[in-house]
Homo-oligomer: 330 residues x 2
């Protein structure tokens, strides 16, 4: 009998999203500050202040890649727990509330009296694409001391976001988590997060994936960035490097590679395409909900497509409808 | 030639909305704490914490009745300025940003080191009705010292929300504003805000309306609560008590009473009815945009209906589309 308490333990950056509409020309103007349309740029506190002052009126919602995944998982009926670092401030309380209110366990001690809770300034262009600018704040103070061994043992899958390689101490926390996960006989999942993130940490990612990761999530661009080759060759090369690789291809759906077996999954058309923030996070949630419930790859992928379609149909990265209702007919 | 710099100066509570979905049974359970479906209940810091911990995952957006009106006015192309009290904290910065980013002047000194920025915990039931629970925080420290005479002289219309009668010092600010407005020969507009607010302050409101107010905004329930009679009699009695009374009737549109002249305005059907938060504020904005641009009552009302329809078609009280685009065919 399975003695785990959680379907997924997620370790990630604890971030509140600040979402505003922006024109393509604004994104273009901001390229001098390293902004890349569709990508995620790390920014410091001063730049965060400057950019915010140029942004339109915004909506605030809890975000963070892994936390978004757990929120979607919970909305499907899965049990999740989260490790991440907020500050003891208003945004930190909002972040904690939004996880806990969904029944997701979150007990990491908040940072007191220094850096503020992380914010991601998200610019949504008319094509519904999101361009992210992240001030990591308190996330840079997540350390391996924040990793609780028991939480890992109690979880079927331990899910890590590639973005965790950006804050220096979080990387240690990441490796500690991976080591305990393997020792406990649990499954390790990794999301590559962003092609630029892959560029920053390619060798570390490769080492981790080839030696420890069971389930890899990536989109086409991230996989190609990782393998430094074209998509077809990258798919051939990633097969058998980890148990499962779930590769998303936007409106073209996804491809699940499990050893020699490949499963193509259609995307689900959203009611209206409004904001792609959190699409990949939602896909991972759907996949993991299926996976931790013993479903086959085609069902796992379908759950992922349905979750992603819901999240991109409105502003913000968390579901606004019950995902359990949306998947029950499958 | 008109020397005014602003179409509307608004004085109001500076509030960030915390919006979450809730069931009707949850609202029912909370009645023991004074919650009334569709109404606004004032709550203290402890109750705010307790209620928040029971709420679903939420979205944060700047709110406050008058500030919402100014945001809609700006979206139509009007010039606005705001007086209200935030604290020097994260939510206060969000509130200020969201006004200033729309070109609305907002210079009231923030409160430092005591109460937090006000929050309104908004529960949205499946029928799209909103039930509001307001922790006034820093708003209780708005005083008549915050009222700048020049700002009043530079504005065509000075708009006050009835909710300002709740924080004790704000009432003084309110009276000071009214007196300067009349002395400067500017127009004074008042929104009754909420039937319970009318119950709390009926005599003061009557005195103000019968003696000073030029433009009154109210919905049916508020007008009936004010006049303590049925709707038709209340309409007869309010005529000639102020220059114009614009009375909203939800999906039944609105009725504008100007002396002996009555204009019926149809409502505009929203694309989808999602959240009625801010409907009255948006209507007032549309009306005032027309009024300050010399339009006749039917156009003023139509602008109001269009603004309200946009705001109720999504979560949150501020427009998500350009209202200028939506009214340009009128």
């Amino acid at each position: 009998m399975d003695t785990t308490k959680f379907d997924v333990l997620g370790v990630g950056n604890a971030i509140v999203d600040v979402l505003a509409k922006a024109s393509d020309s604004f994104i273009e103007e901001q390229r001098t500050f390293g902004m890349e349309k569709g990508g995620m740029t790390l920014i410091d506190a001063d730049r965060a202040e400057d950019l915010y002052s140029l942004m339109n009126a915004s909506t605030e919602m809890s975000g963070g890649s892994t936390a978004n995944t757990l929120a979607c998982l919970a909305s499907m009926g899965g049990k999740g727990t989260f490790i991440g670092k907020v500050a003891d401030d208003q945004l930190g309380k909002i972040f904690s509330h939004d996880l806990q209110s969904q029944g997701i366990e979150f007990n990491t001690a908040p940072l007191v009296g220094s850096k503020a809770t992380a914010r991601c300034l998200v610019l949504i262009t008319p094509d519904a694409e999101r361009t992210m600018n992240t001030f990591l704040g308190a996330c840079t103070e997540l350390t391996s001391d924040d990793i609780e061994e028991d939480q890992i043992r109690e979880s079927k899958v331990v899910y890590l976001e590639g973005y965790l390689f950006d804050p220096p101490h979080a990387k240690d926390a990441f490796y500690k988590t991976a080591a305990i996960t393997k020792a406990a006989g649990r499954q390790l999942a990794l999301s590559l997060s962003d092609p630029f993130c892959v560029e920053r940490h390619r060798d570390d990612f490769k080492d981790l994936i080839f030696n420890h990761v069971d389930i890899l999530f990536a989109n086409q661009d991230e996989l190609c960035a990782l393998m430094e080759t074209d998509f077809d060759t990258a798919c051939d090369n990633i097969a058998n490097k980890c148990e499962v690789a779930a590769i998303t291809k936007g409106a073209q759906g996804s491809l699940i590679i499990k050893g020699g077996e490949r499963t193509l999954i259609d995307s689900v058309k959203p009611e209206e395409l409004v904001d792609t923030t959190g699409a990949g996070d939602a896909y991972a949630a759907g996949f993991l909900f299926g996976y931790t419930n013993g479903k086959d790859m085609s069902v796992c992928g379908k759950y992922g497509s349905i979750a992603a379609a819901e999240v991109i149909s409105h502003i913000g990265p968390r579901p606004s409808k019950s995902l359990a209702d949306l998947i029950k007919h499958i």
